[in-house]
């Protein structure tokens, strides 16, 4: 089995789905001849031509707006937003149009598409190349939200997302693009949307993370083990729909939970997970659900190591939850 990084896995999924389904098209800024600034679509314009791998003018609202029209007409567009930070010019098309087309037309029109975008910090990008805006889209009914943490899931989830009948926001952890490497089967890989993965079993605390933060949570769990604390680690993989059963099952066992995300704490997805856990596991909880998150500031440049929730801060939360 070949060893790929996340960018290669994304590229692989795109290529396979484009071969399988002639309606799949890619569009976005720099995605064509250049193959994308992170090279996710490298080589695809050569293979599939300029009609299916399209360099667009510089306007995210146009990228998504035209993708809506393509999807309505029966294509399966996979627009790229160059950095998740630049999704806001397309917010109206996503929130008002993509998310509501099926609903508002009583099911007469649908616009399935996969909006791929690199997100997250740790690449010295400052606040316009590091944000994690997933909460905005989880809060918008009509959208699904997927975040892989490793090459295998990147390929498998992207494949599922492209085949999904609903629009999907696909956030790729850019810090792990080349850092996360792993074996990925050559042929079709399908990882179902809506299923979390228990990556480590444990009976003391449940660590809940996704994307790049899963790697930090995993590291914290290893260090906790040295202290005799057994963490169960969940890689959510899909944020909407959330795998609530996996969370409840784990927390009912451990009685403790720590949620980790990069986005600012207030109104981040950690709040929703915390609320859901206390609604469903109230009598099992030994300690409050803890949140280890980005701070309530824009993403900083120089002090990004301090800003990002990393293993030491997660470990600290684990110990505090255990000591509660």
């Amino acid at each position: 089995m070949p060893t790929l990084n996340i960018i290669q896995a994304v590229n692989d999924a795109l290529r396979q789905e484009m071969r399988r389904d002639p309606t799949v098209v890619i569009l976005g800024e720099d995605v064509g001849k250049f193959g994308g600034v992170f090279r996710a679509s490298q080589g695809l314009q050569e293979e599939f031509g300029k009609d299916r791998v399209i360099d667009t003018p510089l306007a995210e609202s146009g990228v998504i707006g035209t993708a809506v029209g393509m999807a309505l007409y029966g294509l399966r567009p996979v627009p790229e937003i160059q950095f998740a930070d630049f999704i806001f010019p397309a917010m109206d098309q996503i929130v008002s149009e993509v998310a509501k087309f099926r609903y508002r037309s009583g099911g007469q029109y649908t616009c399935p598409m996969v909006i791929r975008t690199p997100y997250g910090g740790g690449i010295r990008g400052g606040h316009y190349h590091s944000q994690s805006p997933e909460a905005h889209f989880i809060h918008t009914a009509g959208l699904k939200v997927v975040v892989p943490s490793n090459p295998h899931d990147a390929k498998g989830l992207l494949t599922s997302a492209i085949r999904d009948p609903d629009p999907v926001l696909f956030f790729e952890p850019k810090r792990m693009y080349r850092a996360a490497r792993g074996e990925v089967p050559d042929g079709e890989v399908v990882v179902p949307i809506g299923k979390a993965r228990v990556t480590r079993e444990g009976r003391h605390v449940t660590l809940i993370a996704w994307g790049a933060m899963w790697h930090e949570a995993d590291q914290a769990a290893r260090e906790a083990a040295d202290l005799g604390i057994e963490c169960e680690v969940l890689d959510l993989r899909t944020l909407q729909p959330l795998d609530i059963d996996a969370i409840v099952e784990s927390v009912q066992k451990t009685g403790r939970a720590v949620v980790v995300h990069e986005a600012p704490r207030t109104c981040g997805f950690g709040a929703e997970i915390s609320a859901l856990i206390q609604e469903r596991c109230f009598l099992h909880l030994e300690a409050p659900v803890a949140r280890v998150t980005g701070f309530d500031t824009p993403f900083p440049y120089t002090l990004e190591s301090e800003y990002l929730p990393r293993a030491p801060r997660i470990l600290k939360a684990v110990r505090e939850v255990m000591a509660f």
Binding site: D92, S96, A141, P241
Partner: protein, 378 residues
Amino acid sequence: MTDPVNVPGRWEREFPLQTVIEEDGSADPARVTLTDAKALDLFRWMILSREMDERMVQLQRQGRIAFYIGAIGEEATVLGTVAGMEERDWLFPSYREHAGALYRGMPFVTFVCDLLGNAGDRMLGHQMPCHEAWAPGRFVSISAPIATQVPQAVGAAWAARIRGDDMVSLTWFGEGATSANDFHTGANFAGVHKVPVIMVCRNNGWAISVPRELQTASETIAQKAVAYGIHGERVDGNDLLAVHAATQRARVRAASGLGPTLLECVTYRVEGHSTSDDPRAYRGAEEVDAWRDRDPILRLGRYLTWRKLLPPDEVEALRAEARERIRRAVEDAETFAPKPSIQTLFQGVYAEPLWQQREQLDELRAAVAEDPRTSHPR
């Protein structure tokens, strides 16, 4: 006669107002693109549109529907454009082109059910009145946010070209919409990729209370085409023959690979913006009265009279016929239950409801069972 299709790559530097029907109702036959039968048919449609708008405003005043927004005075722009397209072409409406939905086969009763948001509503009571969709007629779902349909129309036409289909899409929007982000990106993308789309601006002089002069400093809307390297034309939007001819011309251009057209139809919003609006707060009666004389129905009527196709009492007969159709549609629509069932709340958000939506439906059902006030209007 010169080729109606312009030389590719050349952009126009003058955008004269094009008319076909003269003051006295005559028209140069060489410039008429409609058969007599078709012109008469469209006259009938214009009357239906007008009668419908007037009736629905009445129903709103009576509290039988909550909101209405119509096209009084703009019928030639709406019907001239839709009639200039092929059946297979997709239409991306703003919110005044209900006549287009009906023309494309949406049953009248279905349209009225949408206005009522009742159990017969094809949109499941999800949308406000006047935000209909009719997929069998390729009449795309109406949105409220201004101009979002423009890049969508571009995307659909682009997709058709990618698939090798001879389909040209058409989108309507107001002159206010040309200030919005999506007009800009739609037109720009269409220009770069020579997408077969027709962008029809219903320049009706007002965007709610904002007059044309406060919307943009460009002398015409058509000249905005220059910014995108695309073709622009400007026609008298109250002259059905002019609108129809320009639409057909634009369709030929688009289908021949010569790219998009921005078609400005100069018309006027004779009534308030919608039933929520009172235009007396911001504009004078004289301006409105001047436009009443330029009524597009009277205008086409004069042409038909000149062509000897319209006997003197025919108009009243057509009106009565339209009113009867409307009466029946309202009557039929009102036979449906006033509300769709409770599970429609969660229907169509996703292909399949999410677990929390299923829970929420159960929660709501329990709440309604426990206290019926839960589902009573305030």
